[in-house]
Amino acid sequence: MDGFEVLAPGPYTTIQDVGRFGYQRLGIPTSGALDTFALKVGNLLVGNLEGEAGLEVTLTGLKLRAFLDTLIAITGADLGAKIEGEFVPLWTALSIKEGQVLSFDRIKRGCRAYLAIAGGIAVPEVMGSKSTYVKGRLGGMEGRPLKTGDRIPIGAKVIPTYLIGREYPIEKLPKSDGLLRLVIGPQVDFFTDASIKRFFQASYKITPMADRMGIILEGPPLEFTGGPRSIISEGLVPGCLQVTGSGLPILVLVEQTLGGYPKLGAVIAADIWKVGQGKPGDTFLFKEVRLEHAILALQDLEQSLSTFRGI
């Protein structure tokens, strides 16, 4: 069943769920939403299972027309979402009518908005996931970003109209404070103590070299102790902070499975969404935390989701 027609695709809009797991051994990265918290809340708002696929909308320009009356939620970045030219609230279950136009045309905060649609997006699962992996041309809409004229299929479902107006409490949203907590990791001994100390004091800016594979940061370089500057390629997790031979930090996201750059550590799972909401020019501070602290932070984030789930 056609749900929406793409009138304008925006710079990079893809279908993403929570990711494709179990195939990284074959070189197929997980993909998936960068801000999974936002995607999950959006799905819960419209009565979907939280892991259902939605649209990941990058910056502005996306314009869609509804083929039918349905229920949607927009979460994550504030990209100036409007229905028929009127701003609509984020983190809220909204009604949209047949023929109405949903548009995103002003960057207010963040980088990626998520559009959840009642019934979910009815593209086939590829290796257990609907997530788009553009470099591998698989998942989502024919393995590519949306383009003008696409028709987004949605799952058949009785529209849960009783959910209209339901909100996620804004005051309970995780804070976008630009602070990335990091657990020191596998190759920390490659770098001088002085440059590690400086790393945790300096601020790092997102360069234009930023996509779903990773983000190159600009700031004081890490310095090598004089030993090797590369490693035999090994597996990665999202959030790994790789350092190039010239000391440049690169944050790994969801479209890379192996890497040969040494790693200072990895940003904790509870803070990855902040990386996904960063756009070129935004800055981050890093804070070293212990593993126990990282797990508590993840528990907090999970807790706020499960509280909401229970309502």
Partner: protein, 223 residues
């Protein structure tokens, strides 16, 4: 160097890197696959994904279900029985390759570099049964071990684009490009086999730890 005991390293709050050594060797690589098989067979609650490397295995886990310490203990326990683990070895595969010509623009250079004839390079490269050490992003197959007579430095300037199926040499490694992409390797041939096909249920044709052999194909034979 091969370690006496694997080392479990913390990689963020949901990754563990199990290192068996710090250099490329068949022994370390075999341990990686034995450990992976062992982990997967044990169906450990909280383990989400595994990524075999040359000499390390990355394990992605859910820290709310499984602690680092617990996972580390499990890895060490499984390590004791690693010899007895049966690793299902994927079926041996022959890969037809058309060496030289437009499909292998660097074959002449490789021959010249080693003062060998083109025929000798083809013979040596296709005489070995290789192991797929790792599958890189989108299924790039890194193979070992390349006979030493063919170790050749990478290009001074990488090519912006080589075709899917290209077979190349980069220093002491040889490999197959699953998809089109940039490359700094010496490209000596190309296979007509579809190494990556997004239209298939399983787009990646080759398997990690699989043994492969190149079968030289003359252009005439293809017709």
């Amino acid at each position: 160097m091969l370690y006496d005991m694997p080392i479990c390293k913390i990689m963020g709050d949901r990754g563990v890197l199990v290192a068996f050594g710090d250099s490329v060797s068949q022994t370390a690589n075999q341990k990686v696959y034995a450990m992976e098989a062992s982990i997967l067979q044990s169906k450990i609650e909280g383990v989400i994904d595994t990524i075999p490397g040359y000499c390390s295995l990355a394990i992605l886990y859910n820290p709310l279900r499984l602690s680092f310490r617990r996972l580390q203990e499990t890895v060490m326990r499984l390590n004791k029985k690693l010899q007895t683990v049966s690793v299902a070895e994927p079926a041996f595969r022959e890969i037809p390759v058309e060496y030289g010509g437009e499909h292998g623009p660097d074959l002449d250079y490789v021959a010249g570099y080693h003062s060998l004839s083109v025929e000798e390079v083809i013979r040596i490269h296709s005489s070995v049964t290789y192991n797929i050490y790792v599958l890189g992003t989108t299924g790039f197959a890194y193979l070992g071990e390349l006979p030493e007579e063919l170790h050749t430095p990478r290009l001074q300037t990488p090519r912006p684009k080589v075709a899917a199926g290209s077979v190349g040499i980069g220093n002491n490694q040889t490999g197959i490009y699953a998809v089109e992409g940039p490359s700094g390797w010496q490209i000596i041939g190309r296979t007509s086999m579809k190494i990556y096909d997004a239209q298939m249920d399983m787009p990646v044709l080759l398997k990690p730890n699989q043994r492969v052999k190149f079968i030289p194909q003359s252009r005439e034979a293809k017709k």
